[in-house]
């Protein structure tokens, strides 16, 4: 019996938390100002292609991680080069998420040093990953509904503060809208490419493809609603200039004389903030394992975590540098990699399949790649 530690329901939950948790601290596509929510929806369309490519690749090569498919389809050297580019792209995302998360925690608890916060997060992730992959799935399954409830509750409570005239004029210029679409397609939507590393671990994926797309669309819709509400409450200028716009909104809400409800929503951040880091961190483990052709990734967990933590602390010594790197330069690298990597593999796989079927004699079964064994995981 095959060992697949993550159910499709858990996988969908992880997809949701990956998308929502990646952007809870800022408004994606804010370059489009009051049209950021449109930019998010447009970015989601680009992201759905990435998801489609990843799922299609999985269907063509069941049981293979996207990094394994890369060397299988393109050959060892070109495949490994692409895998290294992919590793770097995921690493940059993981660093960005980690930085955002510990800066938010530092914003709430200024007396705790960022170094301490950074390693608390890393050690939490390390602990979680040592527990095995099914724990990540269970974490997602457990937190998704709570996160969803908190998210909808937050949207509902903050609604009276919204002034929807702030969302006008819609799409006043195409350049900011295009820039916003590009940035939101890069972060969070194209990030779903990382799930190509987890698909071989998911049970009954073929029967639940609709469910996965459904959760993707729910996430995109919620992000668009959340962004529209943030813009309606704070206005485009303040949404752009504030470090944590959503946190600022939660600071504004209250029931009667009850204030400081933002701390209740901290639960939402803690759960949905740490899940994407765990997913990307585990993704890094898989990629490094495949690049170096290691039998197991377990021994990589702690060293990679330490590298991630130290690198983040040194890569972003200040918010200003973070802003320059993460919001201006890194999308120019990460988006092409995350978008083209699965696209290229899908194209190459398609061509390979065509060639194989044209070579095969009539009447005989089309050539299929040899069914490989499942990637080394740590079942529990």
């Amino acid at each position: 019996m095959e060992n697949r530690p993550i159910s499709s329901q858990q996988f969908s939950a992880l997809l949701f938390l990956l998308l929502i948790g990646s952007v809870l601290v800022y408004v994606p596509g804010i370059t489009a100002a009051q049209s950021a929510w449109i930019a998010i929806l447009a970015g989601a369309v680009i992201g759905i292609w990435v998801l489609y490519a990843v799922i299609s690749l999985h269907e063509m090569f069941p049981g293979q991680r996207i990094t394994q498919i890369s060397t299988l389809v393109l050959g060892k050297v070109p495949g490994t080069i692409l895998n290294i580019l992919f590793l770097w792209s995921i690493f940059i995302f993981a660093c960005g998420l980690l930085y955002d998360f510990y800066i938010l925690l530092n914003f709430i608890n200024p007396a705790i040093a960022v170094e301490v916060l950074c390693f608390i997060i890393i050690l939490t992730c390390v602990y979680c990953l040592y527990q095995g992959l099914n724990i990540i799935g269970r974490l997602g399954e457990l937190s998704v509904w709570i996160s969803l409830i908190f998210l909808i509750l937050g949207i509902g409570i903050a609604l009276p503060l919204a002034d929807f005239s702030n969302l006008k004029p819609l799409a006043s210029a195409w350049k900011p809208l295009a820039a916003g679409t590009f940035f939101s397609a890069d972060w969070p939507f194209a990030i779903v490419v990382v799930l190509g590393l987890f698909l071989p671990l998911v049970a009954t994926i073929k029967e639940h493809t609709k469910q996965i797309y459904g959760w993707y669309l729910i996430s995109a819709l919620l992000l668009a609603i959340l962004s529209a509400e943030t813009l309606a409450i704070l206005g485009p200028e303040l949404s752009e200039s504030t470090r944590f716009p959503l946190f600022l909104i939660y600071r504004l809400i209250g029931f009667g004389e009850f204030r400081r409800l933002e701390l209740i929503f901290l639960f939402l951040w803690l759960i949905s903030g740490i899940t994407p880091i765990i997913i990307l961190y585990q993704g890094l483990n898989f990629i490094v394992q495949d690049i170096f052709r290691l039998k197991d990734y377990i021994k990589l967990i702690l060293p990679l975590g330490l590298v991630l933590g130290v690198f983040t602390l040194y890569m972003f010594p200040s918010d200003m540098l973070y802003d320059i790197l993460e919001n201006k330069y890194s999308p120019l690298f990460t988006f092409p990699v995350n978008f083209l990597y699965p696209t290229l593999l899908l194209l190459a796989a398609g061509i390979q399949k065509k060639r194989a079927s044209s070579k095969s004699t009539p009447g005989s079964a089309p050539a299929r790649p040899e069914k490989p064994s499942l990637p080394a995981t740590r079942p529990r």
Binding site: A111, V116, S172
Partner: protein
Amino acid sequence: MKREKRIKIYVVILLIIMPGFLSGCWDSHELNKLSIVSGLGWDIDNTGKVTMTYQSIIPSEIKGSSGSNGGGEQKGGSQLSAIQLNQDTGSSPYDALSRYTQHASRIPYYEHTQIYLFGKEGVQRGIYPFLDTQARNPVSRPKALMVVSAEEKASDILGIQDGMENIQAFGMAAEIKLSATFSKYPEVTVLQFQNRLLSKTTAPIAPMVGIFEETGPEGKKIRRTRVVGTAVFKGDRMIGQLNERESSGLLWAINEIKIGFVMIPEASMEIVSAKSKIVPELQGDQVKITIEIDEESNLVEYRGHQDITADLVHELEKGQAKEIESQVRAAVEKSFALDADVFGFGEAVHRKYKKEWKDLKPRWDDIYSRIEVLVKVKTHLNEIGDVNKALIKD
């Protein structure tokens, strides 16, 4: 077995490390070491020196008793009272703050600050340094109220012990909120002020609080504070003010009317609901603005001696509409005189004419005072009270 032993060791190590992180010792804020700043005053003199006035609550001294010394004004910290007033002067807000630490024994805590009060002299010079400091500081509350002192110094107002609250800043914040609820003057939070400042064309506003003197029951003079106007800013500098009538007119136009009363010579009406809309229209280079107001009210006072008939109700509605229109016109004229777009007409034009706005935006200051403004008011008198006949007839 080996694995279980290893896990046990990890758990023990974790249990030893965790109390260090979770005990909260690092960022503890003990009440006996805090002075909770309830109101922060900001003045700037002609040499550019900034004076910060802190109205602080000493939590350990609050035992359900009065604020400082009852009856009169607060003493500047000469005796240990629950509410204290301290002042520091420096070259910038943070310089003044750093001097605070030279004489204070408690850390100022801004999480409960209710109002930011600006001296009249200071606001005429510009409050940008203060706004920047507030926006940058994560502990400042975005819902704290912006208030301008009608007196020269912010400290003049913060020193008055008045009203129904022990803590003056809390009382003043409540005063402003109540006047906004009754549609007299606007209630402006730091966030709203920042939003207006960021819009480039919309002029920021803030309520003004002044001091008035009245004679108490024993002939003793009592100084009290009250909301007296609306300060109008151009950028970060105050350039003028709206009086009570003009302030109400502004609230009618910007859809900020909640409840309150409309008074006409024959009657008083209680506002039940009100909605307004700013509709811009562009005719060549000429901007035309229509302010559409829809109001519903109940009759609460009738000074005439006629029975209430449908014709009379209609007359009262007309009188009411005329009064509302005249308030809005007063506000419009004052804003033209000040050349300050307090209504956000520029943003309304931007929203409707996004292409033309590029050309209009740099010339908005010139265009503004030439705008044609039309006020359309619809009023509905719903209820007339429990009597429909005059008690004394003509």
